[in-house]
Symmetry: D3
Amino acid sequence: MRSAIYPGTFDPVTFGHLDLIRRASSLVDRLVVSVATEASKQTLFSQQERIDFLREATADVRDVEVRGFEGLLVRHAEEVGANVIVRGLRVVSDFEYEFGMALMNRRLSAAVEVLFMVPGEAYTFLSSSLVREVALLGGDVSGFVPPAVERALREKFRAQAEFRARAG
Amino acid sequence: MRSAIYPGTFDPVTFGHLDLIRRASSLVDRLVVSVATEASKQTLFSQQERIDFLREATADVRDVEVRGFEGLLVRHAEEVGANVIVRGLRVVSDFEYEFGMALMNRRLSAAVEVLFMVPGEAYTFLSSSLVREVALLGGDVSGFVPPAVERALREKFRAQAEFRARAG
Amino acid sequence: MRSAIYPGTFDPVTFGHLDLIRRASSLVDRLVVSVATEASKQTLFSQQERIDFLREATADVRDVEVRGFEGLLVRHAEEVGANVIVRGLRVVSDFEYEFGMALMNRRLSAAVEVLFMVPGEAYTFLSSSLVREVALLGGDVSGFVPPAVERALREKFRAQAEFRARAG
Amino acid sequence: MRSAIYPGTFDPVTFGHLDLIRRASSLVDRLVVSVATEASKQTLFSQQERIDFLREATADVRDVEVRGFEGLLVRHAEEVGANVIVRGLRVVSDFEYEFGMALMNRRLSAAVEVLFMVPGEAYTFLSSSLVREVALLGGDVSGFVPPAVERALREKFRAQAEFRARAG
Amino acid sequence: MRSAIYPGTFDPVTFGHLDLIRRASSLVDRLVVSVATEASKQTLFSQQERIDFLREATADVRDVEVRGFEGLLVRHAEEVGANVIVRGLRVVSDFEYEFGMALMNRRLSAAVEVLFMVPGEAYTFLSSSLVREVALLGGDVSGFVPPAVERALREKFRAQAEFRARAG
Amino acid sequence: MRSAIYPGTFDPVTFGHLDLIRRASSLVDRLVVSVATEASKQTLFSQQERIDFLREATADVRDVEVRGFEGLLVRHAEEVGANVIVRGLRVVSDFEYEFGMALMNRRLSAAVEVLFMVPGEAYTFLSSSLVREVALLGGDVSGFVPPAVERALREKFRAQAEFRARAG
């Protein structure tokens, strides 16, 4: 288990993701955090912004590398020389979807195994979409995301609110 | 348990919602039915229409008040002086999502408790989206929603059908 | 159990659908595969394309007929003289949604029963949306869909990629 | 779909089972209700009692036959010449277990298909074990089981209560 | 919502139960914690022991009363004059079972409502059976149960271990 | 990720377990397959029999060791110097139970991580209890377990059947 990837949209990265990155990186020689492009779903932050947030937040974690990727996940795993895909299993995650995706990935590349990990107890309910929803409504998300992400969320939604207020 | 809110999109209100409103209102001194604005998801009916349907349908239920709200749910609960949020647990509801949302709300406001109630047996499978889907396809939804809502659904979708027919 | 319908979006048909069609057709005198129009959700292939893929793929299965339909499913069942609706139960399917839909259909027409069947083991995780996602990312889906569908997916997504490349 | 079996423990038969028997029998030429022996789990009523309750309760349903069986379900299906196994899908059923069992049965006999049916809305939560539990505690189960079963439950648990009272 | 009962086996009481008791008692005028007898399932501690643990642990919570009960839950609710049954919804709870039980209780007594509450985040995974399992294997459960319970568990299982060691 | 344990009851070992052992052993330097004693639940085969079956079946897999254990899992992990616990995630597994257990184990030992793996597609529905049930009823389980296990199951249940026949 030399190399593993931890793929996701990270829109934005939460303390739950960072917790998992720390746990996973302690088990492997090298962990690549792989940030998906916007191809298949609309994101709030651009791929570059999401990569930057992750790089800043993982600067102190050894043997972690943040990369963008596009296209098929198993292809990307092969390209970075990883034979393991790490996924977080939250309570609020769609377990059946994860299961189907894992079987599909195995069909697409027999060389890759998917490992599911459980995040820290305080993060089992946390998701990027919950964070976005709370931030959009003006709630305080500083307990769920790094400071830089919190600032960016506040600015993004303030701009939207002002635009709506002017347009209204 | 003086005051409780029963928040939702109510797009449109169904007999399942009304059943829950009756059950909840019998347990508290005052129940505020809180109708979310369109901010986070596209609705079929405007917030005002959804409020009007609810007001008409709950006119005979004591100590129930219908209000629109915008922004964070726990903030709204504080504003109306409610320390309880009531949610219906349908079989077809997304239990894990509700669970995560309840934990998130508690993080955002320690003063608020979420109570889940089970609607009457005949409504455990009923949802606004099922009703919209059936009405869109021309099905009879008079067994699921109040007469005023049924008429409004019929008119809305007839207009769409005519528009498509003319455009087609 | 003279006549049954097997309704769906089939966007596109997969080997899982075809497996179920074979199983279901062996149990009934006549099976109508009913392809939903685009009314309620955006599809990748047009209704006519989806019907054509199914017709080609089921040409050798006896007593199977492929039809498009629009509007309420139970109405369509009555029109084609079917008293049974067949649905596939995949692991990755939304069981609660299926359950609610079955109860709703029974309310709308007491004469119709819904039968759930389990597809072949190799297809319990397969879905049209997974296939579309993999194909969009350039993955090989020839193990999941008939050759004509595979070619059509490749062309459709190549056109999109070229368009993006030129626009980028 | 000439012959089907509807297997179960039926300990005891409930209105939910009877509802399903009516629905299933209307779809097939012949329905065998197959009552499992006590081999694998302890039952409250003997196999003969459970068969008798079912025979009395289905006396007026055409083309239904009640039988005991022992051993492998697919073997029994072959013996009675049935190529279909009918199972009820309640909300409270263990869907994943049913799914695994269906795949296992298919492995054991390729000739047999499992069809899942949804019972009437009023019975989606009903189970023999809930009925036993309520009857054991002295609750009224006349709304859930036929009169003969209700009497038998009352007598059985009264005898137990008297025995405990004397022993206590 | 004058009076509510919080029924359970409490074998033994955990910090999750105590958290829920505090939350529930803050919402009602009077909360009866109702400890089931051993009738339907084998327990590790006697009903009296389980009541004593709860009384000691809730001595400082106002308007809480601990009682044993036997027989049907809704009958007990009527006897203590409670129109509300409170249940904890843990992630690890059997949600479908709870749902069916709630509907069954409503059938048995229209006057009683079931309210589901979510325990504190740190307890969403905790259950009496997990605690018993860990204690049986010699693990430290002082983070999950009150000191008196922890001591009792230690003694109970030490006695068993010594008995096995002597018998072995 | 030098050392991992794969704990279980293995009553008996199935091809699903063996598939997972192969997958897990390819990712770690050393895999200990840890066979639980009979302490907490009744097993069909003794701990020694279950160990022997596993040793024979994994003789050709490198860096795999089979051991019995007793007591707390995390204590055992520490004793064998493993910082990873591997668990298989079958469709039919009790995901919520696994999740709770993983969080509990982390509470009991911060040094241990639980990794969930997905077995080969053909085994996602397979469980020891299904195998025992089928074998008990005289079904052919040679497609699910190694030959030695299949023989042992046949002998065990034949003895029981003869005993019952003589006693009957």
